[in-house]
């Protein structure tokens, strides 16, 4: 599967849908089989369109892209170097900023507490107190975020999104199979309500996964 061209993914989905069509037909649900067959055809067309694109790229494209690749790698290494300095500087700057803000923030919190106790004395309703406490906790969370800002890694985020979308797709596919079994054996009417949206969501997640995973 590692050396698969991107076009194979939609074709795999088409194949799975066609197998599902056969299973559904064997079960006697011709209407569902018809829908699945149509989706299978669509995915086959998508796969072939991508295959067309793959073929239309000249075989020496990679060689032709080598100088550009070098430039990109130089740019990326300099970006990495400067980026690290930038991140370090940003971290120091943020630390300093936090150091300066810390005093003001603590004072502000202290003053707010004093004012709240005064306000409490003057305005006892508990609801207002609760809301203010929430505001305080929100501010605390922001402070924490500020403290951790320099730790964030963008590359890891993409991998994370890709992983999450795959997991969602798998989870929803399992749900899809259970729904299918439930629909065929017990009550199709209920399943029909969300079935097509479910397929679209699964396909969306898979597409996202494929797009984020592909490395040219």
């Amino acid at each position: 599967m590692d050396d698969w061209p991107p076009s194979n993914y939609p074709i795999l989905i088409a194949l799975m849908l066609l197998v599902a069509t056969a299973a559904t037909l064997a079960n006697g649900d011709e209407k569902l089989a018809e829908s699945l067959a149509i989706y299978a055809y669509y995915f086959l067309v998508i796969g072939v369109a991508i295959r067309f694109f793959e073929l239309s790229i000249p075989e020496d494209t990679l060689q032709r892209l080598n100088p550009a690749k070098k430039r990109i790698s130089l740019f990326s290494s300099s970006l990495k170097h400067h980026g690290l300095i930038f991140i370090r500087n940003t971290a120091i700057m943020l630390k300093n900023l936090y150091g300066r803000l810390k005093l003001y923030l603590r004072r502000a919190i202290f003053e707010m507490k004093v004012r709240i106790s005064d306000f409490k004395r003057q305005h006892p309703p508990e609801l207002i107190v609760v809301r203010i406490r929430e505001m305080i906790s929100a501010i605390r969370r922001q402070i924490l975020k500020l403290q951790r800002l320099h730790i964030v890694n963008p590359g890891k985020n993409i991998a994370l999104i890709s992983e999450i979308s795959m997991n969602i797709a798998i989870f929803l596919s399992v749900f899809f199979i259970f729904s299918l079994i439930y629909g065929i054996t017990i009550d199709w009417w209920f399943v029909k309500g969300y079935f097509y949206n479910l397929i679209l969501t699964i396909l969306g997640c898979l597409t996202l996964y494929i797009v984020l995973r592909v490395r040219f």
Partner: protein
């Protein structure tokens, strides 16, 4: 005997077993139904395909089956060496199998030499045995001319691809010969149009994937191939277009076929059906005689699943070998979805485009589907990472999918009565054969009229539930008279009116009106059916009672009656001949369905001539020089129209007929439709005297003139001309190939001398 010889002997034996043993058609039956039927009395019916006018069935119309003559000649040969109708059917089945197999077998070799033998053999077998061919065999299509094209598609396309990619003189010669032989498959011009359409599509895709470069050389090759095809097809295209010109606009707008959109949806199949190789929803595996389960439809999806599976296991960068076939396959799939949602919107638009509506019936494009599918599968498997065993297993699985082929499904399906009791293996009641002696006792050009109007399924079809038949009335094959069915329009192509139906609906007995209708078709016999649907027996009282009244008045006489029909004969005094003049004495002789000699006597004033065949502007009158009527042997005289009918002399071909292409016809401006279907002309003697030399007429003492005319259907001349062009091309190609073969084959004597000289040389 080499391994290959054993293998191919085995293949032939396998197909023999499949045709003559497993799927044996029951003796004593023949196959007919829908628009297609086997020929009965083949010797008497074969000659009709020599001519561009088909006048045995009804009022006559253009005959597109001129191209299918070789196919019917094969049947004729089998009939004459003693084969029964059932045996002829089995032989045609065998020929279909074996020709499809080898056509594909050689085509794959031409398309890609690297395809291994196991793939070639098995995919060729699948080309012969698949669900689509089972569909063909479970309807009377295969016993008639309709799907001959299926056999030729692989070789036609393979050579087409080869000529586009690399063009040699030898390839061109092979292509010309092959194309000329394959034209027998173009009995329906839509198949030819479909071939051209797919060829154009194929070229576009080849250019898109850069398999061929877009340069002057490629354009020249493309032009050469298309020009060759058009020139070689001229012998059937030209007669078709000249004779159908007045109907083309009607057909191209789809009006001739009612509501086009409804028709498109009615003839559409489900998407999963199309992916399972099923053309229409009323055939196997959708309709399964052996099981009610849908499991067989599910198994049939194995066809497309195998394609997808093979794509998944492709070696890298092998797309150039198969992507063009995959693209055509997908486009075909899309078009075959027809009126199926969600493809219906685009397809309705496409199918209503001018020219594209020729493919309104699913068979026109579907017939190409197995070829593209199997070439694609062969190429995919050839370039896949799958093992040889796995590939063979996949192909054997696909070969097994149409299970009924192997358990005698063909005769079972043909003999299966549908819910209304109709089937395709029928036996015409012997009563119809017994009246042959009466009806065929002379060869007068008169009609036998089949009554009453009794359409159930489709106009132009007859329903005889008593003997399980529905379709184009096969009874016309038994008699030598023009068979006029009340179920067809008076003018079959222009769809003018249905006189007998309208008479019955008027709900009033008027024996003279009825007699006039009989006379306008030159009727002599009436075949009054009792074997039609009961509804029509109950609702045709007016027709039945009118006939009783005519009988009571001695206008008609009953000749025979049985449980199936009653046969009546019109009294001689009321007979109207096929050709007659309203004022003058006339004699005529039929030379062939396209040619009549007419002699007009004592022409003094303008006179009308009527010809009781359906109107076509290509029926022409030619004035003959040195008129004489010495060759006429009178066979009948019609008192009321002063007409003499001469004995028929059938001439298959006369070289002089080609001259009608450039010869001027007369009275074209007066050629009109009469009696709502027939041809009529006005002949003006003054015009003849003023414009023609004296040798073209005989002047009588009273000032009147006698003239001789030839009534000719001009497209026949175009047919001859086209045949000559094609024949010359064929002979030249054979000559070229022979010379090429001679060049390559060393002379035996030279070879022997050189071989005998060699040892001496060495010594």
């Amino acid at each position: 005997m080499g391994n290959k010889k054993i293998l191919h002997t085995g293949i032939v034996l396998f197909f023999l077993l499949l045709s003559f043993v497993i799927n044996k058609i029951p003796d004593g039956t023949f196959i007919a139904g829908g628009d297609f039927y086997q020929l009965i009395n083949i010797n008497n019916n074969i000659e009709r395909n020599f001519f561009t006018w088909f006048n045995q069935a009804g009022q006559g119309q253009y005959n597109p089956l001129i191209v299918a003559l070789p196919f019917y000649m094969i049947q004729d040969i089998l009939y004459n060496i003693g084969f029964s109708y059932a045996n002829i059917a089995n032989s045609i089945m065998f020929l279909f199998f074996i020709c499809s197999f080898y056509s594909f077998y050689f085509a794959v070799r031409i398309i890609n030499e690297n395809v291994p033998d196991n793939i070639r053999l098995l995919s060729s077998a699948i080309y012969a045995i698949n669900i689509f061919t089972f569909t063909i065999f479970t309807y009377p299509w295969w016993i008639a001319h309709h799907f001959i094209i299926y056999v030729f598609i692989p070789l036609l396309f393979a050579y087409f691809e080869r000529l586009i990619i690399r063009c040699s003189g030898k390839d061109v010669s092979f292509f010309i010969i092959l194309f000329l032989i394959s034209t027998m498959g173009f009995n329906n011009l839509a198949f030819f149009a479909a071939l051209l359409f797919l060829q154009v599509l194929f070229i576009v895709i080849l250019l898109a994937i850069k398999k061929i470069p877009l340069n002057l050389r490629t354009i020249k090759r493309i032009m050469l191939v298309f020009s060759l095809q058009l020139i070689l097809s001229i012998y059937f295209i030209l007669p078709f277009f000249t004779s159908q010109l007045e109907y083309v606009s009607k057909i191209s707008t789809g009006k001739a076929f009612g509501d086009f959109i409804s028709w498109l949806s009615y003839t559409s199949n489900n998407a999963y059906g199309i992916l399972s190789f099923v053309m229409t929803g009323d055939k196997y595996p959708m309709v399964n005689l052996y099981s009610k389960s849908n499991i067989f439809v599910a198994i049939s999806l194995g066809y497309t699943i195998s394609i997808l599976y093979a794509i998944m296991y492709q070696k890298r960068k092998q797309e150039k070998y198969w992507l063009h076939y995959l693209t055509v396959f997908l486009v075909l799939l899309f078009l075959l979805m027809r009126g199926t949602a969600p493809f219906d919107k685009i397809n309705i638009f496409l199918y209503t485009l001018p020219g594209f509506n020729l493919f309104r019936s699913p068979d026109k494009l579907f017939v190409f589907y197995p070829f593209f599918y199997l070439v694609l599968l062969s190429l995919l498997l050839c370039h896949s990472k799958l093992s040889k065993k796995m590939i063979s297993a996949i192909l054997i699985f696909i070969l097994i999918i149409p299970i009924p082929f192997y358990i005698g499904g063909i005769p079972a399906y043909l003999s299966h009565e549908n819910e209304k009791g109709y089937k395709y293996t029928i036996q015409i009641p012997s009563e119809y054969y017994t009246i042959e002696k009466i009806v065929n006792k002379d060869d007068k050009q008169l009609s036998i009229i089949s009554l009453p109007y009794s359409v159930v399924n489709s106009l132009n079809w007859a329903n005889y539930p008593k003997w399980h038949f529905v379709g184009h009335d096969v009874l016309h094959l038994l008699y030598n008279k023009y068979y006029i069915s009340a179920n067809t329009y008076d003018h079959p192509a222009l769809e003018t009116n249905l006189s007998f139906k309208e008479y019955n609906e008027a709900n009033r007995i008027d024996k003279y009106k009825f007699l006039k209708i009989l006379q306008k078709f030159s009727g002599k016999y009436i075949l009054l059916h009792n074997d039609i649907e009961k509804y029509w027996i109950d609702n045709s009282k007016i027709t039945y009672n009118t006939i009783k009244e005519l009988e009571a008045n001695n206008i008609i006489k009953k000749l025979d009656e049985n449980e199936y029909f009653a046969l009546y004969e019109l009294d001689e005094n009321y007979l109207i001949p096929l050709v007659f003049s309203d004022k003058n004495k006339l004699s005529f002789k039929k030379s062939s369905p396209v040619k009549y000699e007419v002699y007009l006597y004592n022409l003094k004033n303008k006179t009308n001539i009527e010809f009781h065949q359906s109107y076509n502007s290509q029926w022409k009158l030619y004035l003959k020089s040195n008129p004489g009527n010495s060759l006429c042997k009178p066979s009948g005289y019609y008192k009321n129209s002063k007409t003499t009918e001469c004995e028929q002399t059938t001439q298959l071909f006369e070289i002089s007929d080609i001259a009608y292409i450039w010869q001027n016809s007369m009275s074209d401006d007066t050629h009109k439709m009469v009696n709502e279907y027939a041809n009529g002309w006005i002949i003006d003697p003054e015009y003849i005297i003023a414009n023609y030399p004296e040798e073209y007429y005989n002047k009588n003492p009273d000032g009147s003139i006698d003239i001789e005319l030839t009534l000719y259907f001009k497209p026949q001349s175009y047919f001859y001309m086209g045949l000559m062009i094609s024949g010359i091309a064929f002979i030249l190609c054979i000559r070229y190939l022979y010379r090429d073969w001679k060049k390559k084959t060393p002379n035996k004597s030279t070879a022997a001398t050189s071989s005998s000289e060699k040892p001496y040389g060495k010594v």
